[in-house]
């Protein structure tokens, strides 16, 4: 077994030091002048100590002395050599000997290692009543994993009151006052840094408690007015805040039958990168760092998901970007290979601009999309990329290599995290070097948006590896220090993100929103349609059946074509039967549609539907479709699906004049209720599909689809595939009353 790193003393020591350095950096953020110096110092250090974690500050004058246990707490004690500055040599008569004698002193320094909540709150001030600012930062950033807000506040206020009531010796009166001053300072920091802790809807109990406290002990103080002001803000939000909440996000305002102005590959790359960065930046600045803690993010359960809402929003945006890459590359199966490779190239160009903007989140999202199996496997398409583009792809992908615990991206983030420009590229990064060279020195400075996943993994692993409590249930505060190192980096980058100044382009939002999102199975199917797998599949696995679906073995086609665009269920009931999988695999053999996973909607594609569909559908309006119908399994020129656009129409005033449509995929054999369900899902509508009708918009009329039609065959492909989803008359009134309609951006 390897012993990691080094001796324990060195470890603890470095831990305390690193935390301190970070807290200092966080402070330095407020005075940007310091930043540059600090950073370059940091850089120098890291150059020397390649294999060490960043932010390491070497302080050879610290020495671990040992541990000290008192009731309810364990301290780590260090001896620190303090050097006093030699006073500027005056013409004094003192001898040199005397001075050098006083130059060094050894001081004992204690750090809380573990303790009860009471002890941890006490430690916010030192024994002399001084503010322990590093400790306060760590404590406030992490306390939620071991105590409630109200409990901590209670302890703080009680401590203040105890100090105020104490009969103190006149000699100690200064310390007591200092101590109380420090507690007030803590409250200030808390209110300023984590105002959300005090929101506690609807009545803000903690804030009320604090108000009562300040009224009694500190009337007219700065703290008192700060509390009043916070209360006013919260109640204003509560009363007026709802207004506009019903409004659609700007991105949802789509003019009727408006076709998007942007269309890959011919889009302005830099502009796209900037817009993606703008979206990321808004989410990143809103990110609440302590929601990333392992105890919150990776232990969240369903009903507590709002606890990590800001993290989830970031993750969703990341996925949304990846999905857009996958979708735009695949969604038109009949594209010429060279045109498809132009789309790859366009994404690479956007990615390149993201690198300049130091937006590592969308950059990684794009790279992930390009590396996702359905896109990555398109060898012929990739082969058409120019040499430069292929190189660029490799350089960008290298940033996110998983090798050596993602060392490349960690280093990069450290180097550029708070720098103004993307000024460093590796020696092997020819394309990126060229780019930076072309750009010269950029006129505007940029912030940085990190890929959050690295932090989330680190925090998850810290949470898994380090126990919450030590020795008889004392809270392990060293764990919190370790977590704070990560949180502090996030905070630091959030501060840096303010350097972005990017305008909003509503047209971009519209484009972003209009891109169809494919699920795994759809994407893979499309991909195989574009470039059939080379490995001739064997049977046994459903995947193989599915491949057959696209080439060869025609006899399967009529079955394979039961494909419905959403399916994910398989023996999810706990029937406890040992061979559930057997039944499942059998089912899969019959119904090869159930390959996808992760799709939240369900469908029940069944064999009887498929067998009857050949005759039951309405007569296709256009001969091309007929050729793909199961009745003519050998002619395979047309698509196996259509992409249709569905608008939701309601009588609600809010949506007046605003048409938003969502694209959905329509596979052959999908029946009206299923299509309605899919549309509802995309449009974020609740309720029973039977309560809705679906109609195709034709130039002179609307064609309402019969309740159980096979929509694929029923649509009129001579015209645009635009549809309107409506509540049935009777349902409509009810829905308005219940406010059932939710138009949310996802």
């Amino acid at each position: 077994m390897l012993v990691r790193g080094c001796a324990g003393s060195e470890f603890r020591h470095s831990l305390a030091e690193r935390t301190k350095a970070l807290a200092a950096k966080c402070h330095a953020l407020r005075s940007p002048a310091h930043q540059r110096d600090q950073r370059s110092a940091e850089r120098r250090r890291t150059k020397n100590r390649k294999s060490q974690t960043r932010w390491y500050v070497k302080q050879p004058t610290w020495r671990l002395w040992g541990e000290e246990r008192v009731d309810g707490a364990i301290y780590t004690v260090y001896l620190k050599k303090v050097r006093y500055h030699r006073p500027t040599r005056s013409a004094s008569s003192e001898s040199d000997d005397e001075i050098s004698h006083l130059e060094w002193e050894t001081v004992r320094v204690r750090f809380v290692k573990a303790g009860t909540v009471e002890r941890l709150v006490e430690a916010l001030a030192t024994d002399d009543g001084e503010l322990e600012s590093t400790y306060v930062n760590v404590f406030l950033a992490t306390y939620r994993s071991f105590a409630e807000c109200s409990r901590v506040l209670d302890l703080l206020l009680r401590r203040y009151e105890a100090l105020a009531m104490e009969d103190v010796h006149p000699a100690a009166i200064d310390t007591s006052q200092q101590h109380r001053k420090t507690l007030v300072a803590c409250l200030h920091v808390w209110l300023d840094t984590y105002p959300e802790d005090f929101r506690q809807l609807p009545h803000h109990p903690a804030l009320q408690q604090l108000l009562a406290f300040t009224q009694l002990h500190l009337p007219g103080s700065e703290l008192h007015s700060k509390v009043l002001q916070k209360l006013a803000v919260f109640s204003a939000e509560r009363n007026g805040g709802a207004a506009g909440g019903v409004c659609l996000a700007p991105g949802m305002r789509v003019a009727a039958h408006h076709t998007c102005a942007y269309r890959l590959p011919h889009v302005p790359h830099r502009h796209f990168a900037e817009q993606l960065t703008r979206m990321d930046m808004e989410l990143f600045k809103k990110l609440v760092p302590h929601q990333c803690l392992g105890a919150v993010w990776s232990r969240r359960d369903k009903d507590r998901s709002h606890d990590a809402a800001t993290v989830l929003a970031t993750v969703n945006q990341f996925n949304a970007v990846s999905f857009r890459v996958i979708s735009t590359v695949l969604v038109e199966p009949n594209l010429r290979p060279v045109d498809r490779s132009d789309i790859l190239a366009a994404w690479l160009d956007i990615a390149r601009e993201l690198r300049v903007l130091k937006n590592f989140s969308s950059l990684k999202a794009i790279i992930s999309g390009l590396q996702s199996n359905p896109v990555y496997r398109l060898r012929k398409t990739w082969a058409l990329l120019s040499k430069e583009k292929a190189e660029l792809f490799e350089e960008l992908a290298r940033i996110f290599s998983e090798d050596n615990n993602r060392w490349a991206q960690r280093e990069l983030l450290m180097r550029e995290g708070t720098a103004k420009f993307a000024d460093t590229v590796g020696e092997n990064d020819k394309q990126l070097q060229k780019l930076l060279h072309e750009r010269g020195s950029p006129g505007v400075s940029n912030g940085t948006i990190p890929y959050l996943g690295t932090f989330l993994t680190d925090l998850t692993m810290i949470d898994t590896a380090i126990p919450d409590t030590v020795a008889d249930g004392l809270i392990n505060f060293d764990k919190r220090r370790k977590e704070f190192e990560v949180l502090a980096q996030i905070k630091l980058l959030q501060g840096a993100a303010n350097a972005y100044h990017l305008p909003t382009d509503p047209m971009f939002d519209r484009w972003f929103d209009s891109v169809i999102v494919l699920d795994d199975r759809e994407a893979y199917q499309l991909s195989c349609q574009i470039e059939p797998p080379t490995n001739p599949p064997k049977e046994r696995r459903p995947k193989k059946l599915n491949d057959n679906n696209n080439h060869g073995h025609r006899k399967n086609d009529s079955i394979a074509s039961t494909s419905s665009s959403n399916s994910s269920q398989f023996y999810c009931e706990t029937d406890g039967v040992g061979n559930a999988w057997k039944r499942d695999s059998l089912e899969r053999r019959i119904s090869p549609t159930r390959l996808s996973h992760g799709s939240s909607s369900s469908s029940i594609p069944s064999l009887d539907v498929s067998l009857s569909s050949a005759n039951s559908g309405q007569k296709p309006a256009n001969g091309k479709i007929a050729s793909t119908s199961p009745a003519h399994p050998n002619a395979r020129s047309g698509p196996d699906f259509y992409i249709i656009r569905v608008t939701y129409e309601s009588d609600c005033v809010e949506t007046e004049g605003v048409v938003l449509y969502k694209s959905i995929m329509l596979s052959n054999n999908e029946r009206t209720p299923q299509v309605i369900r899919n549309a509802m899902l995309k449009l974020n509508l609740d309720g029973d599909p039977d309560g809705y009708t679906l109609a195709q918009v034709l130039p002179d009329k609307e064609m309402v689809l019969p309740a159980n039609a096979n929509v694929y065959y029923a649509v009129n492909t001579a015209y645009n595939l635009n549809f309107i989803l409506r509540l049935r008359k009777s349902q409509q009134e009810e829905a308005i009353v219940n406010g059932k309609t939710k138009n949310k951006r996802t």
Binding site: N319, G453, H597
Partner: protein
């Protein structure tokens, strides 16, 4: 020394991180630092041969769905984990496996099916036979483990190494490997 990339997959909460930490760190958990270069590596001896295992835990990033393919592409061996106390985590594995085979474009990928939390016998809902049947269907090895009680954790990874060796006995993997960390004072 040959290097092995191993990916641990499964639903949230089944104990992926716990297994990884248990394997990589053993009892030295107190000194664990996930941010340093070697925190997911471990050198082990399997059948008289020194191997360097690099564990790719997806911990904390399970919901970055678009990245799963990449993990799978990079992995040489897979640990598919469910918890014996949650049926749904067992059911989820079929899809995961299919995704792996699709990404790898192979029929047979080194893989171990793991029923974790076997220390929680009283809360068991997935029977041992059920696990064995699924493994049989997957054509892979099955083990029940406990990251908490340290049962069979190393065996999972050793078995994967053996499988990888068997399937690609050649040492095609000539990647430069950092010298192993030893206890040294700075």
């Amino acid at each position: 020394m040959r290097e092995y990339k191993i990916v641990v997959l499964g639903s949230g909460g089944v104990g992926k991180s716990a297994l990884t930490v248990q394997f990589v760190q053993g009892i030295f958990v107190e000194k664990y630092d996930p941010t340093i270069e070697d925190s997911y590596r471990k050198q082990v001896e399997v059948d008289g041969q020194q191997c360097m295992l690099e564990i790719l835990d997806t911990a904390g990033t399970e919901q970055f769905t678009a990245m799963r393919d990449l993990y799978m592409k990079n992995g040489q061996g897979f640990v598919l984990v469910y918890s014996i106390t949650a049926q749904s985590t067992f059911n989820d594995l079929q899809d995961l496996r299919e995704q792996i085979l699709r990404v790898k474009d192979k029929d047979d990928v080194p893989m171990v099916l793991v029923g974790n939390k076997c220390d929680l016998e009283a809360e068991r809902v997935v029977g041992k036979q059920q696990g064995a049947n699924l493994a049989n269907h997957f054509n892979c090895v099955f083990m029940e483990t406990s990251a908490k009680a340290k049962i069979s954790v190393n065996e999972v990874f050793y078995d994967l190494v053996r499988q990888i060796n068997k399937k690609s006995p050649k040492e095609e993997n000539k990647k430069r490997i950092k010298k192993p960390l030893t206890c040294q004072l700075l």
